[in-house]
């Protein structure tokens, strides 16, 4: 079953979705049919090579398959596990349920809580952004709604875990997070497909609505298999005095094109966008970030750090936009690339568009090898070159890994990086 209008209908029926959502899928499908693949003459796609990706070859749906590659992190307050394209199974602490926390597959939420889903779904991550976003909106499968009511604080993290093992299909989970006033919690999305041996078309998109005074930590850990093509859009809408800490970890996939965006809508809103990537083999990663200061007294802080090995290629392009009325905004943006091989290629494009003078905006980008002075110092202390290099790379990542909002995710990322460093 390739991508067809029928597959859109079938997915809607499978999940028993309400009519409004079915209509929305159809609209997205129309967009998908209408617009062509992004043109490489467009700036955002100039460096993106998705040759070898043929959307026609993927099935629109993957039945539940395989076994979970690992247990979820310990001490989670709630877990949603999704296999293939089917809606996930949920465990949530009873106490949170009593407090009004809603955590369920998106299709179920569309039926039971349309007031939470209807106006928000695909309002930040729009279907008409490009053909891949349209495919995602038309064919998204499973996915999650997490709603945390006003003034509810959740100590332990909530986890969404998505895996696929077959390949050959589109795996398009969508996470919708709604934080009420002064709500506080952390959330981890884990995307796994360790045994994927055929190409897959994947996403890992998220829309995060941060209410007034709320504080949300969101970590996305992408470990799709090495044959996956990932197109994901992660975007937070942040109201007055709200704060979002978004942490993107990109490790898997043959190809990953990720947008990570903060839409600072209310006075006093703040966003922290952090990213870690490790590209090896012939992996290609492309990150586009946006810190959109729509209003004044907002702050944003971005740091994307990554290492490149073998013939990997990484593109980072980030934009700080300060709108006209956004006085007293403070924005920072940095991208650091550690190039560990002769044939890896890094492109870094940190951009600023500043329309207000009463602001502080700084950015920086670096591309470079392991610092020979640091290496020399460690070697002079009797540490072998390989170990010394490894220590330096660990230190390089340490600066940003330390900023992961909660401990469980931090450990998980540390383990993954350890494994990659070998």
């Amino acid at each position: 079953m390739a991508f067809t209008k029928e597959s859109v209908e079938e997915i809607a029926s499978l999940h028993g979705e309400p009519d409004w959502l079915r209509t929305r899928r159809r609209e997205a499908w129309e967009v998908y049919e209408r617009i062509g693949l992004p043109d490489r003459s467009e700036e955002e796609w100039r460096r993106v090579d998705f040759k070898g990706l043929d959307l026609e070859t993927f099935a629109a749906f993957e039945p539940a398959n395989g076994a979970a590659p690992g247990l979820p992190i310990e001490g989670a307050a709630g877990v949603l596990r999704q296999r293939g394209s089917q809606p996930g199974q949920v465990e949530l602490e009873e106490e949170l349920r009593r407090k009004g926390v809603i955590f369920m597959p998106l299709s179920q939420a569309a039926k039971e809580h349309p007031e939470l889903v209807r106006d928000r779904l695909f309002s930040e991550v729009k279907a008409d952004r490009d053909k891949f976003a349209a495919a995602h909106a038309a064919l998204f499968s499973g996915g999650t709604l997490l709603y945390v009511p006003d003034n509810v604080e959740i100590e332990r993290p909530i986890l969404g875990q998505y895996w696929s093992s077959g390949g050959g299909a589109a795996i398009l989970p969508h996470t919708l997070i709604v934080a009420g006033r002064n709500a506080r919690f952390n959330y981890l999305d884990e995307f796994l497909s360790p045994s994927l041996d055929e190409p897959a078309f994947t996403s890992g998109s998220a829309e995060i609505f941060v209410g007034e005074g709320a504080a949300v930590g969101y970590v996305s850990l992408q470990k799709w298999g090495r044959h996956a093509y990932q197109f994901a859009n992660q975007r937070a809408h942040i109201a007055k005095d709200g704060s979002a800490r978004i942490f993107n970890v990109t490790l898997g996939g043959r190809f990953a094109k990720v947008r990570c965006e903060a839409n600072l809508q209310g006075h006093g809103a703040s966003a922290e966008l952090k990213g870690v990537y490790f590209a090896s083999g012939d992996q290609f990663f492309d990150f586009h970030t946006l810190q959109d200061h729509q209003t004044g007294d907002t702050t944003s802080d971005l740091l994307f750090k990554g290492a490149l090995e073998d013939t990997a290629r990484v593109v980072y392009a980030g934009l700080i936009r300060i709108e006209k009325g956004a006085a007293h905004s403070d924005a920072y943006q940095a991208n650091r690339n550690l190039v560990l091989s002769d044939h890896a290629k890094a492109t870094s494009i940190p951009m600023l568009e500043i329309d207000n003078n009463d602001v502080r905006c700084t950015h920086g980008a670096t591309v470079g090898p392991v610092d020979p002075m640091s290496l020399w110092y460690l070697e002079s202390r009797g540490i072998p070159t390989a170990t010394a290099t490894r220590m330096i790379v660990q230190g390089f990542f340490g600066e940003v890994v330390d900023r992961i909002p909660f401990e469980q995710a931090r450990h998980l990322v540390e383990e993954e990086l350890e494994a990659r460093l070998g």
Binding site: V339, I349, G364
Partner: protein, 469 residues
């Protein structure tokens, strides 16, 4: 030889530093561009056949190429409403006395001739589309330095000319390079022989002085091995009511161990579209320095670039942009590291005020095999009010090993503490701001010859007047 009419300087120079001289032309081409006009231009200049052919070929490329889709909006340029060639006097002035009075007066307003006489060896002053005045110090001639206008160079140094012309920036490079190659007129041609150090800056002044007239000068500089030259290009232009196009091409070859510095202070009137392609290729252990100041024009799109072709080559861009009301300065630099062990720096300082917009746009590219390169880019932007805008678009591409590349940028307003300090010393707000702005661009100013630094400070002062509302 034209006779200069009496001009009431006070009335005519109505704008701050804008100039206007009555139009008085020997030949005036028709508006718009056709193959016939190009053939006519080439015929009038008595050019060899290869140049006529190149012009026609470039015209075809120009018609085919699209306008850039990024940067400023250029769709308003009406290519059919532009004069592509004008000739102001039939004969070239050879001494200062022979230069028409009104042209001299235009120079006088800038306060340049005095300094010029003291400091400078040769002046190649472009008035309208062709060089009218040119004098070269005997010493330079003795050294074998060729400093002439580009038209003369084609006649007198045909072999040297043909060897390099259009090799650094081929007509197919971009739409405006194609246009320039089709209709170029004037500009400077410099050849510095092996080991020769030209110890005084060579200068040329450019003017646009006819309504709706495009100016397409073409400059070619060849620094032979171990030589040095500093070329200064400064522009001011009269104020007119309709848009004018300035589209120059500058090609520079810096051979082994040589060093070339190219300084520009661009102060076109604020109706000019300034779309310039500047590029240098630099060989082993040689250095190219672009010192590029953009104050005038309505829209400038200019990114001086350096191709670092052999190990040890070094490139430097120092760029300053000032955008006032209605202006968009889209400037920056490009460093293309083709060979290993090459280094480059780009320093950009931009100031926006009164709704003006400055954009830094730069590209640092390190090709495969160009190992052990170092590049550093620093951009600072100052926003003087909340109507203005500043953008930074740096592209950094690294495709080689052991490359160290850094980029930093800041955008800020004039700091309240600095203003408070200065004002507490009895300095007015306007003066204080001017001082801060002058301090901000000081890394640029200090690279200029004294008389230019003075002129620049004066221009900034004029720009800043009334900026506090």
């Amino acid at each position: 030889m034209a006779v200069a009419p009496k001009i009431n300087v006070g009335d005519d120079y109505k704008e701050k530093y804008g100039f206007f001289d009555p139009e008085k032309f020997v030949f005036k081409a028709k508006r718009g561009l056709t193959d016939e006009i190009i053939q006519e231009i080439s015929w009038m200049k008595g050019e060899p056949e290869w140049m006529t052919k190149l012009r026609l070929k470039s015209h075809a490329i120009f018609l085919k190429k699209k306008l850039p889709t990024w940067g400023a909006d250029l769709s308003v340029i009406d290519f059919d409403n532009i004069f592509y060639f004008l000739k102001s006097t039939e004969k070239q002035g050879t001494t200062w006395d022979e230069v028409p009075e009104d042209i001299k007066r235009t120079f006088d307003k800038l306060g340049i001739p005095e300094a010029e006489r003291k400091f400078l060896a040769g002046v190649s002053a472009q008035y309208e589309s062709e060089v009218v005045y040119h004098s070269l110090h005997q010493k330079l001639t003795d050294q074998g330095v060729v400093f002439t206008d580009t038209d003369t160079a084609l006649r007198e140094h045909p072999d040297l000319f043909k060897e390099y012309f259009g090799t650094i920036i081929p007509p197919a490079d971009n739409k405006f390079a194609a246009l320039n190659t089709a209709v170029w007129s004037g500009g400077s041609f410099i050849y510095v022989p092996k080991g020769v150090h030209v110890d005084i800056p060579l200068q040329a002044y450019f003017r646009i002085n006819a309504e709706n007239m495009g100016q397409f000068e073409r400059t070619l500089i060849i620094c032979d091995e171990g030589s040095f030259v500093h070329y200064i290009e400064g522009c001011t232009a009269p104020i007119y009511t309709t848009d004018s196009l300035h589209s120059a091409v500058v090609e520079i070859i810096v051979k082994r161990n040589a060093r070339c510095r190219y300084t520009t202070i661009q102060n076109w009137s604020t109706n000019v579209y300034n779309l310039v392609t500047k590029r240098a290729v630099v060989y082993a252990d040689a250095t190219m320095e672009w010192v590029d100041g953009n104050l005038g024009s309505q829209i400038t799109m200019k990114y001086p670039s350096v191709y670092l072709m052999e190990p040890g080559a070094k490139g430097d861009v120092l760029s300053v942009a000032f955008a006032g009301k209605g202006q968009h300065q889209d400037a920056g630099g490009k460093m293309i590291h083709v060979a290993p062990n090459t280094t480059s720096t780009i320093t950009s300082k931009s100031i926006s005020k009164g709704g003006g917009r400055t954009s830094y746009r730069g590209h640092v590219k390190v090709y495969p095999g160009a190992n052990h390169c170092k590049s550093f880019v620093k951009c600072d932007a100052l926003l003087l009010d909340d109507e203005s805008r500043s953008d930074t678009y740096p592209y950094n591409d690294v495709d080689a090993e052991n490359v160290t590349l850094g980029h930093e940028a800041t955008v800020s307003k004039v700091s309240d503490e600095q203003l408070f300090y200065l004002m507490s010393r009895g300095i007015t707000l306007n003066e204080a701001e001017t001082m801060i702005v002058n301090g901000f661009i000081e890394p640029f100013t200090k690279e200029l010859p004294l008389e230019y630094a003075v002129e620049l400070n004066r221009l900034i002062q004029l720009e800043m007047e009334g900026s506090v509302g």
